[in-house]
């Protein structure tokens, strides 16, 4: 064997690369000194790198889209942005493939009844038909018989327009959005306790903490790029506490992993507070100076000794004591949570118990100490700030507050009497559709057929509507039910802002022109408004003009965007609101001065009583079903289930079960709830509680987790209880096929997928979660 590596190297000469032949993309980097500056680069090959952000989750990673000489997006390059420092998850890496995907809708689709096939029509015809249907329904059944459902993947400009379009052009009170399914519980809790609806600290504070508590958040799969902050904290010696019924990638390395029974979080956190009080670990000075309601909360906590909570949560009582000591004794501690504790009929209460714990220990408003909620959708934060939510006006104003109504009417140029009252939430709107109270609907950028609970009810609701139009760039399962489908732009074909989980507003840039026949949502909404007679209120040629009105409309509110401009965003890489003036640096960390956004400046602690989940267990349904995401797919999967690499990575859903149930890996397991039953391949793993089953929810029927989940809502936030319902599991004969996403007429399926979308059924369980069969 050769001792000197060079000897072999000489024998096999390698001719070094000719620098002038640097492949596209790398040239721009090299010219910029290795790490790209945040500017647009064009290299000699005509390739341009357009700085923008990922369209998917609430981390909002910076990325460059690679644009070829012909102006088409064809690839991605990592970008050294503050948020992600070059990192991307597989969704972010593959996102660019949507832009010129063959499934893209490129002409409006229309049909007069659901029995007909879609035909491609002109925008003119589709808009005319839509407007005549809106008028017909509203003239016979009143303005409120027509509803609008927006989405939190839209730029903030567009979400602002959705709210304004509903109230000013449609004059309906029925407008809501799919962020209602995302983090409104946390929003409600934050509003109650702090008077402001956002995370208290930036991600970078995680690096400074001594104890990181993550509750109900599968960070590794749902917000992968945030993991770098978690591991960074670990490098500094921070302890990690994870609350999750499953052993996720984060839980695997935690100091304490509390695998509690789904739906018991508030009992757990109140009991942790109980121990904190018992052991004298509260920060009484902080409480006296900054909080109200402490005595009541303290009295309630006395009712939750670890012995009681341990029985409710199905965990050892010592764990509660351990968590209390670790969290409260840490010089700086932080709690981050996500849908795991928010998707409950007591979601707001769950979040409030976390806030109670942070406040009682004084871990609020300091570098490395505070709380945060991780938004699921790209604009889950910004999407609700400017009036898309049924009860909110721009700037987070309340639609039932007279002063707030007056302010907005002035900006919009309408009479206060013309402004409708608060509407209902997304799920309630579907129930109203079932009852024919809402007879017509426009959906923008959402896919309730996959994302709402209790699929049967959702389908019935939509089938009952007399008219349904949908804006999308792919024919989603919901769009396939519509009368009219408007083909709109992807995130890469327009500019606009989003606010990530830290409430940092970032700007997305336009990388290519939309394909012929495709229009922006802004254009389409304004055009509809014009035809409805409100054209003068919707004179918005582009996103920038909408943003300028939004800034003004938010001025002086808690959600103040006034000081944020496109130019500043491009220079800084993002600004956290509130930002009241154009020389204000933004507010990455809240409450540093100890003041909240309530008039008295205090944290309003709230008493919480735990109650069992809405779907009761019985002999027929003894186990908990819980749902969640997988790293390769995004929400309803309308976007990611079309991208070859992601389909290959996770082609189908599965049911994760504990080995104690006697299933073999890959065997068909039927999961039965009171709403229905479906069959999935079993993924047998010790990484889940024996009394719990997990199914990822990105697929439509017949393998839709949401055909099984319950449409019970949190009474305050109206978020559905996705994370727990009663179920049983049994052996089944065969597994139903995973449907491919519907393909628009006249278009071909994605030709380059590594796996065919109708490939035969699961040979083995999906990768990634472990299997107990060894070959």
């Amino acid at each position: 064997m050769t001792a000197d590596p060079r000897a072999a190297a000489d024998r096999r000469t390698f001719i070094p690369l000719d620098p002038s032949l640097a492949p596209p993309g790398t040239r721009a980097f090299r010219d910029a000194g290795g790490i790209p500056a945040d500017q647009w680069h064009a290299d000699q090959n005509g390739e341009t790198l357009v700085p923008t952000h990922c369209c998917f989750c609430g981390v909002q990673c910076g990325m460059y889209l690679r644009v070829d000489r012909g102006g088409k997006v064809f690839g991605v390059e990592p970008r050294n942005h503050d948020i992600n420092r070059m990192r991307l998850c597989p969704k972010g890496i593959n996102a660019y493939q949507q832009v010129n995907h063959p499934d893209r809708l490129t002409a409006p689709l229309m049909r007069r009844s659901r029995d007909e096939e879609f035909r491609e029509v002109s925008w003119e015809e589709a808009l005319d038909f839509t407007v005549s249907e809106i008028k017909r329904i509203q003239q016979t059944h009143g303005n409120d018989a027509f509803g609008l459902l927006g989405g939190a993947s839209l730029f903030s400009e567009k979400t602002y327009l959705v709210g304004k379009f509903a109230r000013v052009a449609l004059k309906t009170r029925h407008v809501d959005y799919n962020g209602r399914l995302c983090m409104v519980s946390a929003a409600g809790a934050n509003k109650l306790a702090f008077g402001i609806d956002r995370a208290g600290n930036p991600f970078s504070d995680i690096l400074l903490t001594d104890c990181l508590l993550i509750a109900g958040s599968n960070v590794g799969e749902c917000f992968p790029v945030m993991t770098q902050y978690v591991w960074g904290a670990r490098d500094r010696g921070a302890s990690l506490i994870v609350i999750d019924p499953r052993e996720t990638a984060i839980a695997r390395t935690a100091d304490i992993h509390v695998a509690l029974k789904p739906g018991t979080d508030s009992a757990f956190f109140t009991s942790v507070l109980h121990v904190v009080i018992e052991e004298g670990l509260t920060d009484e000075n902080y409480l006296a100076a900054h909080a109200t309601g402490w005595e009541e909360v303290k009295a309630k906590a006395a009712e939750y000794p670890p012995s009681r909570a341990a029985a409710i949560c199905g965990i050892p009582a010592e764990q509660i004591v351990q968590v209390a000591r670790t969290f409260a004794r840490a010089p700086r501690a932080m709690a981050w949570h996500a849908r795991g504790i928010e998707h409950h009929s007591q979601g707001v209460e769950n979040c409030l118990t976390v806030i109670n714990l942070c406040t009682a220990t004084g871990h609020i408003g300091k570098p490395g100490a505070g709380y945060g909620t991780i938004t699921g959708q790209g604009n889950g934060q910004g999407g609700r700030e400017h009036g898309q939510k049924s009860d909110l006006l721009p700037g987070g104003r309340s639609i039932m507050n007279e002063e707030h109504r007056r302010q907005i009417c002035e900006i919009w140029g309408i009479e206060e009497s013309e402004l409708p009252a608060a509407g209902t939430s997304m799920m309630e709107m579907v129930w109203q559709m079932q009852r024919r109270e809402i007879r017509g609907l426009i959906g923008i950028c959402n896919n309730p057929f996959v994302s709402l609970p209790n699929y049967q009810v959702v389908k019935e609701g939509y089938d009952t509507t007399e008219f349904h139009a949908q804006f999308d760039f792919f024919l989603s399962e919901t769009a396939a039910n519509a009368h009219v489908v408007f083909p709109v732009t992807t995130w890469a074909e327009d500019e606009g802002v989003m606010a990530n989980a830290e409430a940092r507003v970032v700007k997305h840039n336009k990388a290519q022109d939309p394909p012929p026949g495709v229009r922006t949502d802004t254009w389409a909404m304004c055009e509809l408004a014009r035809r409805l007679g409100a054209g003068d209120k919707f004179d918005f040629p582009d996103s920038r003009s909408v943003f300028d009105e939004l800034r003004v409309a938010s001025a002086g509110t808690v959600n103040d965007y006034y000081g944020i401009t496109y130019e500043r965003l491009e220079e800084t890489g993002g600004i956290a609101w509130p930002c009241p003036t154009t020389d204000h640096p933004g507010t990455p960390r809240l409450f540093e001065d100890g003041k909240t956004y309530h008039p008295d400046g205090k944290i309003h602690l709230q008493v919480v009583e735990w109650h069992p989940p809405m779907d009761p267990y019985d002999d027929e349904h003894p186990m908990s079903l819980t749902t969640g995401r997988t790293v390769a797919h995004f929400l309803s999967g309308n976007q990611t289930r079309r991208l070859g690499a992601l389909v290959e990575q996770t082609p189908r859903p599965w049911a994760e079960v504990h080995p104690s149930h006697g299933f073999r890996n890959g065997e068909p397991v039927r999961v039965v709830t009171r709403r229905g039953s479906e069959v999935f391949p079993a993924l047998v793993t010790e990484a889940i509680r024996p009394d719990t089953v997990f199914i990822p929810y990105h697929w439509p029927v017949p393998t839709a987790a949401n055909a099984l989940t319950i449409d019970a809502l949190d009474p305050r936030s109206k978020i559905p209880e996705y994370k727990v319902c009663a179920c049983r599991i049994e052996h089944a004969e065969r597994i139903d096929e995973v449907p491919a996403p519907p393909v628009a007429p006249g278009h071909v399926a994605y030709p380059e997928t590594q796996v065919s979308r109708t490939d035969p059924l699961p040979p083995t369980a999906p990768q990634g979660r472990g299997t107990s069969e060894r070959s």
């Binding site: 064997m1 190297a9 620098p19 790398t26 980097f29 990634g768 472990g770």
Partner: protein
Amino acid sequence: MMGRTIFIDPGRCIGCQACVSACRECDSHRGKSMIHLDYTDEGHSVASLPTVCMHCEDPVAPCAEVCPADAILVTADGVVQQADTTRCIGCSNCVNACPFGVPKIDLQAKLQMKCNLCYDRTAYGLAPMCATVCPTGALFYGTVEELQAERPGVQVADTFVFGETEVRTGVAMVVPAERVQWPVPGGLPVVEINGKDVRR
């Protein structure tokens, strides 16, 4: 010892496969990923572990050593290239020789392909695609000093034993502090051959 190279830290891997997707995007073999992701304790844990080419230094690249067509070239800075398409005969010798199970054969094209440490990027001062995007830093590109500055006290190993054979690699692994005596055992321990217990 090592210059700029990849460091693999399995303790940080979350199994997201961003590295796999990113490798597909790198220009030297666009459309195909050269990284493996293994699940080491399936059914019991979600632990996962990425494998890139280890760019063996001593003995110099076993894959290159056994290549009858001299298709696998090694650069002066120790990067073991993927097979030169004008020389490779698709014989799979390299696949069998690699102790880490790295090279892949494209059966249709009868060509070998493997990680070339993103030579198309590293040659121009850019980090490899996989290590750039890895959201957790389970794949890190830089010098050992840079790694240790970011992760105080971290220990790495670049020498692995396979039975009697020692292999020193250009790419290094992060090892638990208590495991810092080199060499680190490589591959699965051989317990039984033809029904005979071969443990000493």
